[in-house]
Symmetry: none
DNA sequence: AGCCCCGTGTCAGGCCCGTGTCAGCTTGGC
DNA sequence: GCCAAGCTGACACGGGCCTGACACGGGGCT
């Protein structure tokens, strides 16, 4: 999944990025609201993490504004001192909030929760041909065997599972799996598609390539 | 998608065209505002890339003018020195702007973003006679069978589907499928129409040829 | 620390499929 | 019947895609 982190504290930001990257997410980082605007203009995000105290303005106003044009889920990061009860934050359009300092595990959990709620309603287990895909557990079960997926394979499969039968271009897939400033070639996508195919073939799930356009996942 | 690039720097223009063509877009190139006017009168574009510094005038005035008559999404290309923040540019009616020199990947991303925001939301499924055409999936289903289409066939069918019952000349079709300077004979269109016909015949969809004029798609 | 191992992204080489052209044929208009 | 316009099977080319091998780096274990 692709995240936008809006946070001016460099240290905290880097820690968050490191942690979320471990989960295979792509994170872009904006230090100001202006920068956040730029990012939002260019890419599509699955989730935004927004600090409310920023050098160039109040995050709340920004939140209200973007809510009119974008439909990105938002988790607000607030300091404990800033009074902000749940109702207050949610009224502005946030999906959840978390008070600093927070535990990274908690942040991850809230991210997962919001994604589950706001994304295309995804059941915990997705039937894929003869197999069962568990996105939160990162496993694929088939014939009683449960095999773990690797990080990138997991994210890639999530994207495909969410877009049954749709053609996804390599560029789109790159956008979903990698952050903007990660200079990764499209060949990486080809490689990961190949690796995923090996795992899916037994289950009757296929990732067709549409030459010059992209890939499409289908199953019986 | 069909783009109009308004840019007097030949080298830059050619580089942009080369890059966007790789994404399967058709790009027409105008070196002056006058030329741009002519292109706009003749063809319909999905997106315009407009340099603001041109030999025969200021792009901003041009932008304001065209905005009254056209509804093409516009991305403005500016030199870094020319001050222009987002608000400024958006006030003129642009959908986005990018400062030169820019990264091609960024240009592509912005194009995609603008198209996503402004583009006509393609209906998920288009009924075509006894068949169902899924543009985003690139398939045609009929009698429970779902058959994939190839790149060019897909684009051609999209054009026909968007222009139900209209007669499309071979020149128009060439324009939609190929960029201007791609030297492709009209015979190519004949060939692709033939290939499409084979796939559509079972569904009762027909592409009539109107001798000396063009083609028209009809169905029961 | 040192070691190993696993996950990751790149690269080069080769395959093969989509693509556009051509030539010869058919069709339609006058 | 003649010519132009359109149809179509066959073909060659080029580049998009695949894949095995590799180098790199970070984590975890001893």
């Amino acid at each position: 999944m692709r995240f936008l982190l809006v946070e001016d504290n460099i240290e905290l930001a880097e820690a968050i990025i490191a942690r979320l990257s471990l989960d295979g997410h792509a994170v872009d980082h904006a230090k100001t609201l202006a920068a956040a605007d730029e990012w939002l203009a260019v890419a599509e995000y699955d989730l935004m993490l927004l600090d409310v105290m920023l050098p160039d303005g109040d995050g709340r106003a920004f939140l209200r504004k973007t809510r009119t044009t974008e439909r990105v889920p938002v988790i607000v990061l607030t300091a404990r001192s800033q009074v902000s009860d749940r109702v207050d934050t949610l009224d502005l359009g946030a999906d959840d909030y978390i008070t600093k300092p927070f535990d990274f595990a908690e942040l991850e959990a809230r991210c997962r929760a919001v994604l589950r709620r706001r994304g295309t309603p995804t059941p915990a287990l997705i039937p894929l041909g003869g197999a069962l895909f568990d996105p939160s557990g990162g496993t694929l079960s088939h014939d009683g065997e449960t095999k773990p997926l690797r990080n990138r394979e997991l994210r890639l499969l999530e994207v495909f599972a969410r877009n049954k039968g749709k053609i996804l271009s390599k560029t789109q897939l790159l956008d979903r799996l990698f952050s903007q400033d990660a200079e990764v070639s499209e060949n990486a996508i080809e490689v990961y598609v190949a690796r995923l195919r090996k795992r899916l073939s037994a289950a009757g799930v296929e990732i067709e390539t549409v030459r010059g356009v992209g890939y499409r996942m289908t199953w019986a």
